[in-house]
Assembly symmetry: C2
Homo-oligomer: 492 residues x 2
Amino acid sequence: MANKITPRKEDYSKWYNEIVVQADLAENSAVRGCMVIKPYGYAIWEKMQNELDKMFKETGHENAYFPLFVPKSLFEAEEKNAEGFAKECAVVTHYRLKNDGNNKGKLIVDPNAKLEEELIVRPTSEAVIWNTYKSWIQSYRDLPILINQWANVVRWEMRTRLFLRTAEFLWQEGHTAHTTKQEALDEAKLMNKIYANFVENFMSIPVIQGTKSLSERFAGAEETFCIEALMQDGKALQAGTSHFLGQNFAKAFDVKFASKNGGLEYVWATSWGVSTRLIGALIMTHSDDNGLVLPPNLAPYQVVIVPIYRGEEQMKEVLKVAEKIKSELINNNIRVKLDNRDNFKPGFKFNEYELKGVPLRIAIGPKDIENRNVEVARRDDFSKNIVSQNELPKYIKNQLIDIQKTLFDRAKKFQKDNITTVDSFEDFKDVLNKKGGFILAHWDGTEVTENAIKNETKATIRCIPLENKKETGACVYSGKPSKGRVFFAKAY
Amino acid sequence: MANKITPRKEDYSKWYNEIVVQADLAENSAVRGCMVIKPYGYAIWEKMQNELDKMFKETGHENAYFPLFVPKSLFEAEEKNAEGFAKECAVVTHYRLKNDGNNKGKLIVDPNAKLEEELIVRPTSEAVIWNTYKSWIQSYRDLPILINQWANVVRWEMRTRLFLRTAEFLWQEGHTAHTTKQEALDEAKLMNKIYANFVENFMSIPVIQGTKSLSERFAGAEETFCIEALMQDGKALQAGTSHFLGQNFAKAFDVKFASKNGGLEYVWATSWGVSTRLIGALIMTHSDDNGLVLPPNLAPYQVVIVPIYRGEEQMKEVLKVAEKIKSELINNNIRVKLDNRDNFKPGFKFNEYELKGVPLRIAIGPKDIENRNVEVARRDDFSKNIVSQNELPKYIKNQLIDIQKTLFDRAKKFQKDNITTVDSFEDFKDVLNKKGGFILAHWDGTEVTENAIKNETKATIRCIPLENKKETGACVYSGKPSKGRVFFAKAY
């Protein structure tokens, strides 16, 4: 626990992995590419779930649950979607094991228990959900359907990294059905706005809102809205997507509704999701070379109290006051942990909570008791203050609000400082190599140019910004006319 | 929606299925044995989750998440557990699909993407969790580990029924690790008690607490504690289990800890779970021939307001008051739905909410507005009362408490009336055939007798009651000495 972690400058990727493991967030499992989310990491995910769930419900969505498996014939029904995911599907082919006649105590797959039709472990649930919606939708009166699902999904990624890219991950996926194109488009935009709001205000991570270029779109979507965050190494991370699916799934699954004026029309669809990947974004936005830094909204405990004493008598005296402070803070709806372990020294505990990103640390010793004070240390800026015990709850509340804001402001400044506008491909490559970050450049709108830039630089179009200054220009690569600048970056 | 459902007496099984589907709780999916849990059913599950999660956390448990897949070599490590689940395992053998050269637009499993080791879709997670705990546990200081997981699991059942037995279901599974046998036993007992408390007080379902006989025990457990509920058709339903696993998994996965006195010992384990099956128990305990009956704690909305009017003017007037009542009730933390759909008649709505089990229905028309009254109808006993609008929040609150209690008392009386003590095998068979329910009879404690009774009557030992009157006697089947009576029943 007291190990020093590798500094970002030395090895950014190692720094990230060490934080995940040493802050007790997650670890690799015996199953290739699948992670174990440990209690401290899962508590952060629960906070995210609770807030998102509230936001979804406040905007009229309900939760439901659809099967883990997708029969192959349903999976392949929407061709583009199937093509997009076919290469990373875990496939169930058998439904029984039997004893291995040659090895006592060992099991083998029973060849007599082969499924007639293979089942795909869902990489996403459009297929199984639209096949269900078919029987739910007859008339315009059955619409809209506004459903969300909290679930696990599996995408057989070849190179995996804890939280950022895992074979199994946890997410929510919204799937809505509408009578008109406009209503579905509005829904997709609304959900992207909710994601931006959540990530910025709850997670303190600034994002760029935009749409994806054709080649970066969700397989089967007509438009993908997204939020893009910028990590400290200058690489972008897609933090959430919301798709306008047009009538593609309605047509693939033959889902029509009787309209008000008596016609029979295909239903319009959206889907949208965020995942445990957001925890990766969280780590790489706020943390430093001392470990994890958590925004107070997401901290499993926002305050840790570390008692300082020598000998049993002092311990009793200090713990009595510490308990009282703990109760007071809990009564003020602050999440508090009192670390009264006697077999670890205060310095060890300080390191541990620094590593785990606890926003505020209260240290209290005999002298503080005499003076009716405590020492409060902030994780985000390492500042320390002596605070009167009487004023503590109010002080802590204000500090938590301030930390939440400070983290956002700091990340926002970093984002701003790392958006570079360029007008030549030389500058583009130069900025990308020396500085990184988002590059705002003119693009001619073609896939050919997009691919050429990607092949030469590894940078992709992260998004076509929603708040697009109307500005015409010449494509940074081809010199052809451009209708506006787009965000390029290397990405996770 | 207005369809009458089949009466219980006519066809109990059909009655159950019709309630599940017509009350909009769940439906079968395109995937054999897997269900779609619809928003109304899922909202009930969410209420159950919230309450259980609170109870788990209050007793020191934390949530975490472990992989969906179990490599075959881990799965088979604890032999009894593996044997118990081997015949119902969904097995992932491949990780990629490819285009079918012979059928454009179709996909086939890519034979080049065969996994080196097959992955079992978890039927339960002891194996993958204990393999993880191995690296978490070195010393007694690392113990106890008290972890719970909310997850989906898959057991390839041949005969499935919505909620009661599905190939995929949702559940929670607790997995704890301890230094001593006693501590693990206490944990298993505590969790069984928490389940009993939850099911009785939150779901209004009375249960019998007990332990399982050897043959009904969880595969790999040394003792299984359980709660058993009684359904209206006289069959028992296992509503939750809590297992003392001894050192079986610690030995299978070589999980040892350095004890305080310097030795190296195997860790003691428990696991415990309840699932969406509880929704089946809920339906079959309280519902009637008019549909679902929900205890107020579990009702997605506890009160529905149905406005009654003729013409636009009355509608406005009535809806204005209805909205005001809705707000007042919401301010009193009551979950309310106002059904202001203009295209359905009040009678239709009454049927719908009766079918969906909404505990209280408020009807309000022009006359009620004149008299400042409303009509309140109870779903559980069909009673109707005229209540002054002023007194409404208080009245509704009291009624909700009363319904919660009435449902429990009614089910408790049913349970009591259907526990029959018998002293001969003739009586045993007679009661089982004519009356059903729990049969309390002496048993000689052997598996041979248990199996013989099962083969002749289909009744199994549901549990050896915890509150066992110390009474010796003669086994109802073999005549051999018995140390106490046990509960027999036919079961779901």
